[in-house]
């Protein structure tokens, strides 16, 4: 019961915050709305008993990515110019609604094989065992480290003053 209430509150707030990203006139407020959406997604992870991912969501998205986005908004001085749309409003709306309809139909028409076991909690130790074991995901972890390094170097090179 408590879980259901938590889910509905998080879901409504997440959708409203996502709509705020689209429809708020002020770009800075849109960024703050995005931060609210990130926080509610972290809450949804907690309702799915993914505690480690919720912490990572708060640290990475709310802590780092939102700061980067707000920094970019500040440095580009686009706050006064508002949040205009281009001429593709109606086609994009049709595409989004049709895609949403297809996805909702697929999700509800499919009969998922729900497992009987309750999910693992806490997830930190099993996740670490998955990520860093020989038989797990150690190679993708190394590749992800290389990707992050390349992205940092690329960002520095691109954004540097000539």
């Amino acid at each position: 019961m408590g879980l259901a209430a938590a889910f509905w509150i998080m879901a409504v707030v997440a959708v409203v915050a996502a709509l705020g990203v689209i429809f708020l006139r002020n770009v800075f407020r849109a960024a703050l709305s995005l931060v609210l959406c990130f926080i509610t997604v972290a809450g949804l992870y907690i309702t799915l008993s993914a505690d480690f991912l919720a912490a990572v969501q708060i640290l990475v998205y709310v802590g780092a990515i939102s700061v980067l986005i707000i920094l970019a908004i500040m440095m580009t001085r686009e706050v006064q110019q508002g949040n205009p749309s281009n001429k593709m409003k109606l086609p994009a709306f049709i595409v989004a609604v049709v895609l949403l309809g297809i996805m909702i139909y697929t999700v509800t028409a499919n009969s998922w094989q729900i497992a009987a076991e309750s999910p693992l909690t806490p997830t930190t130790v099993p996740l670490a065992a998955k990520l860093f074991s020989e038989s797990g995901f150690i190679l993708p972890v190394e590749i992800a480290a290389m990707l992050i390094l390349a992205a940092i170097l690329g960002a520095i090179v691109i954004a540097r003053e000539k």
Binding site: A14, A18, I22, L48, L53, M75, A96, M103, I114, A115
Partner: protein, 103 residues
């Protein structure tokens, strides 16, 4: 009414379509990047939901969500660097006016 897998998947689809609409229609490049982050987040929700409802003991969906977060962090760093570089050259980040490489 108990919360099932479908609720999370429908919520994820709604968030994804909101992000898609924004990424297709917005002219401010930073807003487009924010909408892409929204879409990545919605995909993460469905990955974690699948992980905890279908294979609750394997955690593979959560591992995938972690890699999506890694790629999202790399993407936002490079994307914002590109936006700042474009702004320095054009003093504008309106996606309609960025047409230097348009054929």
């Amino acid at each position: 009414m108990t919360i099932g897998l479908e609720h999370y998947l429908v919520l994820s689809a709604v968030l994804f379509c909101i992000g898609l609409y924004g990424a297709l229609t917005k002219r401010n490049a930073v807003i487009i990047l924010m909408c892409i982050e929204l879409m990545l987040n919605s995909v993460n929700i469905s990955l974690v939901a699948f992980s905890s409802y279908i294979v609750p003991l394997l955690l593979t969906g959560q591992v995938f969500a972690i890699f999506v977060m890694v790629v999202a962090a790399a993407e936002v760093a490079v994307g914002l660097a590109i936006i700042l570089a474009i702004y320095r050259g054009l003093t504008d980040i309106d996606a309609n006016n960025i047409n230097l490489m348009k054929w």
